[in-house]
Every structure is written in structure tokens, then in C-alpha cells.
């Protein structure tokens, strides 16, 4: 099983694509209704998936320092708002039209709204875009999206897990408290990080992993999603401890995240894909267009030139890990299982379409350039 996942990752790497859609595809093929049957899912995949989602969100939170979050919000709030309105709306509308109910529509809105930081970061690194003018615009948009998620996820999770108004209020206050602590500039590391980080690499690794899993379990007990708790923990760590934790957790995250995507795919009944495929295609096309518009507009406001705007627009099309996390939340909570099927198809399509679009832009630019040289 792991060998299979490794092979998939290598293939994806060769094609210059993120392995996420491939893991999903493997899950689809091995799950109910698929051409191959897996006799036993095996405890590892299931547990691995739970750890995977915790690690995914922990590392997403670790990425940014409070200063970057505050500065990103300050400079990018307008583009972020445009991003939110343009891209969540189609999801919400589709959810209502398809009869997923209010909560289902809210979940689908989140699924279509958020671009994949993972896929985009990989694109930027692989194609050498780090120094490009539009990279700042794209990364700032992703920061705002993450901040929105920090508020959206706890609320959605609380609503999905059937929490009462009291539970929802508790979730929101928790988030508000974390955001206040986050966005206020801090000159010193909180004391507890010293206790955790002034140690050997192994101790740090086990320590941070242990803390996240324990907090996750506690969160589950309290009716808050473990994944969300992990995300918030990640956000509160920054600076050198965050860099170190990210470096140490990276390989673990890749391993367990693969299990998570595989597990998600396994739950999807391929037979049920049929009716949903058209909806996924339509939604995919619509929200690809809205992301293109968002990227174009945001890059233009930052003074980026024509080609840069096209690159930014193409990059943002990518959807990935976060969308699957939201879909998993929805499915586990017992919402319409078509949400899971739709999301799997949707993410697979756009996780591949995004990078392909970027490469198409680069190819077009190369052609325009040689035309200019020879013409």
C-alpha cells in the first residue's frame, strides 16, 4: 500500500503535478464500486488519516508568523474580499440547487472558495516563480484565505457536529481569542515554547506531535474538530520554533497526508460518481473562471504586468488539501454523501487543471517571445 503511494508520488513528481489528485484517484479505484477491491482497509490507513489531517492543518498554521498574517490582512483585505465573494458564491449556489441543504451549501462554498496553498507553493518552487512580481499577490491572497478558514472552520465544524448555540459561541470566542493573540505583534516567544523547543530534534518532533494530537483529542471531546484545533496551534507558533517544527514534521506530514487523501477517496462510491460528474465539471469550470478573474484583478491592483496577471490567475485555479478537509468534515458529520463524491471529482480536476494552466501560460509566453525575436 505504502509502496503504491510512493510510486504515485514519483509519477506525479515526474509530471510536475501535486500527488494529491493521484492519491484521491487511488482511493476511488480501490473503494466501493471501483475496479479493484481492497480486502481490508487496515487500521493504519484509518489512523493515519486522522493523524494526517491534524498534521496537514498544523503545518498550514505553522507557515506564517503573526507579523505576516497582520501585514497580509492589511495589504490584501480587498482582494481577499473579492476572492471570497466570487469564489464561495458558486459553491453555495450549487449546494442549494443540488439540494444539499443550508449546511451542505455552506460546506460547498468553503470547498470552492479555498485555493490550495500546497499545490501553489509547489508550483512556485518548481517553476522558479519565487522572485516573480505576482508571487507576492498570490501568497498574500493565500494568507487571507487561511485567516478566513481560521474563523470559518471552527464555526462550520461546530455547526456540523450539532453543537448548540452555546457551543457555537464557545467556538467563535476561542477563534477570536486566538486571532487577537496572533495579530498583536509579539516581541518575545511565549514561555511554553522554550520548554518544548530547547531540546534535541527528536524531542521536539515527538513533543509537537504529541501536543497536537492530545489537543486534538481534547478538542474532539469538546465537540470542536481536532483538525481545527491543530490549525490554531500552528498559527500560535511562529519564528524559529515554527521553522524548526515545520522542517521536522514535513516528511511525517507527507506520509500521513497521503493516508488521509487515500482514505477520503476510499469512502467515495465510484458508482455514485456518475450523476455528480457533470455538476463537478460545471462547478469546476465556473470556479476556475472566478479564480482567474480574482487573480487577474488582484495582480493588476498590485501593478503586475500582463503576463504576471495571467500566471497569478492560472495558479489560483488549483484546489486541493483544504477543500478535501472540509469535505471530510461534512461527510463525517453525516451530510449528503454526494458532497464527498462531488468534492473528490472537483478537487481532482482542479488540482490538475491549475498546474496545467500555469504551464500553458508559460508556453504561450515563450511562443510570444520567440515570435518577437524572429519577427
Amino acid at each position: 500500500m505504502l509502496l503504491g503511494l510512493a510510486v504515485l508520488a514519483i509519477v506525479a513528481g515526474r509530471l510536475g503535478l501535486s500527488p494529491v489528485p493521484f492519491y484521491l484517484l487511488a482511493g476511488l479505484l480501490l473503494g466501493p464500486g471501483g475496479p479493484f477491491q481492497l480486502e481490508e482497509i487496515g487500521g493504519f490507513i484509518e489512523v493515519g488519516a486522522e493523524v494526517g489531517v491534524v498534521l496537514l492543518l498544523l503545518m498550514l498554521g505553522l507557515e506564517y508568523s503573526p507579523r505576516e498574517l497582520a501585514s497580509g490582512l492589511r495589504t490584501g483585505w480587498l482582494s481577499g474580499l473579492v476572492d471570497l465573494v466570487l469564489n464561495a458564491a458558486p459553491g453555495v449556489a450549487a449546494g442549494l440547487l443540488l439540494g444539499f441543504g443550508g449546511l451542505g451549501a455552506a460546506a460547498l462554498g468553503g470547498i470552492t472558495y479555498i485555493s490550495s496553498s500546497g499545490v501553489i507553493a509547489k508550483l512556485i518552487a518548481d517553476l522558479g516563480f519565487t522572485g516573480n512580481r505576482e508571487t507576492g499577490t498570490v501568497l498574500t491572497l493565500l494568507v487571507v484565505e487561511d485567516l478566513v478558514m481560521a474563523v470559518y472552520l471552527p464555526l462550520l465544524a461546530a455547526a456540523l457536529l450539532g453543537a448548540s448555540i452555546g457551543g457555537a459561541v464557545a467556538a467563535v470566542s476561542l477563534v477570536a481569542a486566538v486571532l487577537v493573540v496572533l495579530l498583536r505583534p509579539r516581541s518575545r516567544e511565549p514561555r511554553w515554547t522554550a520548554a518544548l523547543f530547547d531540546r534535541s530534534d527528536e524531542a521536539v518532533l515527538l513533543g509537537i506531535l504529541g501536543v497536537s494530537l492530545v489537543v486534538g483529542a481534547m478538542a474532539d471531546r469538546l465537540g470542536v474538530s481536532a483538525a481545527v484545533a491543530a490549525f490554531l496551534i500552528g498559527l500560535t507558533l511562529s519564528g524559529e520554533p515554527a521553522e524548526r517544527a515545520a522542517r521536522l514534521l514535513h516528511p511525517l506530514r507527507d506520509l500521513f497526508a497521503a493516508a488521509f487523501f487515500l482514505f477520503f477517496g476510499l469512502q467515495v462510491d465510484v458508482g455514485a460518481l456518475g450523476p455528480v460528474v457533470w455538476a463537478a465539471a460545471g462547478l469546476g469550470a465556473a470556479t476556475a473562471a472566478t479564480k482567474v478573474a480574482t487573480g487577474w484583478w488582484a495582480a493588476r491592483s498590485d501593478g503586475v504586468g500582463r503576463w504576471g496577471r495571467r500566471r497569478a490567475a492560472a495558479m489560483l485555479i488549483s484546489r486541493g488539501e483544504f477543500s478535501i478537509v472540509i469535505a471530510e468534515l461534512a461527510v463525517t458529520a453525516g451530510l449528503d454523501e454526494r458532497i464527498g463524491t462531488l468534492s473528490a471529482a472537483y478537487v481532482m480536476a482542479l488540482a490538475i487543471a491549475g498546474p496545467l494552466a500555469v504551464r500553458a501560460v508559460e508556453a504561450a509566453r515563450a511562443r510570444a517571445r520567440s515570435a518577437r525575436r524572429t519577427g
Partner: protein, 165 residues
């Protein structure tokens, strides 16, 4: 010269670019992990990187030195000092002068010139804020701070043991 553009790359570092007189765009990315990436933008599409090289911190310092970094920072420091109205001077105490062997108090640098002795560098060691009982030796490098006239007088005082006429 056009101003340097600075952009935040959240989760990565900071990006600096500037445009040369010949309309080429050069840039540096300061990664959070200490790496520096130097790049040259494409001349057709200056928003896009044509060539990028990643440098470790040590390599970045080397590159900066090759570009004349130490000269640049010294000149910049001199400029800042002139503008602020304060001058800083490093004065070496020559052999066979009244200063070598006298204490700062005996020389009465501050009373006579208005400039202050902020530090004395002796060999490898630095002696910050030396008191009036500190005895100077030949070869010491004395750091004086004051007005332009004051530091010139202090330099004369230290190098001859007498105030400049």
C-alpha cells in the same frame, strides 16, 4: 537611482528589487531560513525571473564584499554622521606623544575640545566608555564623538598632546 521595491512573501521571506539605469531589474529574496536568492528579471517581462541563484548566508556576505559592500557601508555611515551633525573619528595614538602614557582625565579631552572619548581599541580588545583614569598607550585607537570641529581638535590633542592651534 530609482527606489528599491520591497514586498512581503508571506511564508517565504521578503523580496527586494530595483531597476538599473539600463532598465534591467535585479532582485534579492531574503528567505526566513537565512538563505538569499539573487535573481535577474527577464528583459521582456520584468515581472518574471530569468535566472535565480540561491546563496547561503556566508555566500551572500562574500558576494556583497565582492560588490564592494564594506566600502559602501563605510560611506553610508559617513553620510549619516555628517547629516546628524555628529562626527565620529578613529584616532590612533602615535608613539612618543604626550597622549601615550597619559590618562584621559589628564588630557582633558572633553573639557578642552567638547568631543567625548567613547571607546578605546587596544589590539584585539575594545574598551567601551573608558573613565578618566584610563591610561592611553601608543597604538591605541581612540573613538571620539563630537562636532566636526571638536573631533578635529581632539584628534590633534591625542596625536600631539597639545591642542591644535
Amino acid at each position: 537611482m530609482k527606489p528599491v521595491e520591497e514586498t512581503d512573501l508571506p511564508g517565504v521571506g521578503t523580496r527586494f528589487t530595483f531597476e538599473t539605469e539600463r532598465r534591467r531589474v535585479l532582485g534579492v529574496i531574503r528567505h526566513h531560513d537565512g538563505r538569499r536568492e539573487v535573481f535577474v528579471a527577464d528583459d521582456d517581462d520584468p515581472d518574471c525571473v530569468a535566472v535565480a541563484v540561491s546563496l547561503s548566508e556566508g555566500e551572500a556576505h562574500l558576494f556583497a564584499d565582492l560588490l564592494g559592500g564594506t566600502e559602501i557601508s563605510r560611506e553610508a555611515a559617513a553620510l549619516a554622521q555628517g547629516v546628524a551633525g555628529l562626527t565620529v573619528d578613529w584616532v590612533e595614538v602615535p608613539p612618543d606623544t604626550a597622549a601615550a602614557g597619559s590618562t584621559i582625565g589628564q588630557l582633558q579631552v572633553r573639557t578642552r575640545t567638547g568631543a567625548s572619548v567613547v571607546a578605546v581599541l587596544r589590539g584585539e580588545a575594545a574598551h567601551p566608555a573608558p573613565g578618566p583614569e584610563f591610561r592611553l598607550e601608543e597604538g591605541d585607537v581612540v573613538l571620539v564623538v563630537g562636532t566636526s570641529a571638536g573631533t578635529t581638535e581632539a584628534a590633534g590633542l591625542l596625536q600631539s598632546g597639545r591642542s591644535a592651534p
